[in-house]
Subunit: 225 residues, 2 copies
């Protein structure tokens, strides 16, 4: 498996794998032993051929008439996705979002272990959140020697995003999970994963508005008949 993990899959495929895992975990809990790509397709609304293609990247192939072994899917997907491996993580910014993420024990279930938080607010420094100690940003390098964090999460205000990213990179961290809507700059050897949940809100609001627009249009049309 370890060499398999080094394959950089297409991002759309990577994003679908956790959906497959969530579904086959359910099947596994229900005692289901085999599942066809058609059945997965029906459950999660992705083309069966796409599913077969995605799984073939992981050398998973279904058998004619029987399909995939559920146990195999669970094992290979879990291992490949890295959710069982521990990734020590620093939280940059322990304001509202940062503190919330520290308190979400779900992240640890997916392999992200937040081991320390950093902030510049004197009221926060020296405290702890759910057992995670909070230090001043200036201590980052020193704490890195102790914790060997692989990942840094950015949950600082937009105006401090670049500076906070630079501090993480300066401390030797090579993967940044960026929750700010700011597009940080980093050298090519740094992995930057942008997860601006507020951008998703914008997409959702726009769809809601568009829907209302259509509703209005439909009402207008029916009114004119």
């Amino acid at each position: 498996m370890s060499e398999l993990r080094h394959i950089a899959l297409p991002e759309p495929t990577l994003r679908r794998l956790p959906w497959y895992l969530a579904y086959v975990n359910l099947l596994s809990a229900q005692g289901v032993e085999y599942v066809s790509s058609t059945r997965i397709a029906k459950a999660i609304k992705v083309d069966a051929s796409q599913i077969a293609k995605d799984l073939s990247f992981l050398n998973l192939r279904g058998r004619t008439r029987i399909g995939y072994e559920v146990k195999d899917l669970v094992r290979v997907l879990t291992d490949f996705l890295g959710f069982k491996r521990r990734h020590n993580t620093f939280m940059m910014g322990v304001g509202s979002l940062g503190a919330a993420l520290i308190q979400d024990s779900g992240l640890a279930q997916y392999g992200l272990h937040i081991v320390a938080g950093f902030d510049v607010n004197p009221l926060r420094i020296g405290t702890s959140i759910s057992g995670v100690p909070i230090y001043h940003v200036s201590e980052l390098r020193q704490r890195q020697a102790e914790y060997e964090a692989e990942v840094g999460v950015l949950a600082v205000p937009v105006e401090n995003a670049q500076e906070a990213a630079d501090a993480l990179i300066g401390g030797g961290i090579r993967a940044i999970w960026n929750f700010t809507p700011f597009r940080i700059k980093a050298a090519d050897d740094v992995v930057v994963q942008n997860t601006s949940i507020y951008s998703h809100l914008a997409v959702m609001y726009n769809r809601m508005d568009a829907r209302r627009g259509i509703d209005t249009l439909e009402r207008d049309e029916s009114g004119s008949i």
Copy 2:
């Protein structure tokens, strides 16, 4: 603006708009009056022509040699993105992630006001989190009459995701922000926004592993010289 909001923009454009807003908010705070698409491009690493195209959807056009008025960009983007409008919201599931999201006051700054939480755990029902009351799921319809929520956030375990979505839809909610990795089914008139932050983790881990793979390769190659 209201008719503008009813245009369903391409999703990639919609996702970029909050980046532009974050950047021009910064410029505005710094007292900058005009900005060119080239300058925005340099700051956030998106092609200048793409930026001009995205902004033209909102009838924003830069003037030759002067560029865009920062004040205009802030106003139009903020209005279009819906962050200033109040969207009453129900939280389904107030376990670790749900409780964390309720505590993230950042969401309210982006127009998402969580007014009530729902759960089935008797220990949680009747309590409140950051002032938000927690009710039993069976009370959803009744509470909806009181709160008129537009949005429901799904933060329940995967095995309850569909059931919780059905309860929201049954209560008249037409927009679901799904934080579970489960692909819920809903009628076409329901907006479903999937934000599986754990899927982003998988993407990030894979890139980290791929990077390590490349590092190993490079080391091997230099060793063989």
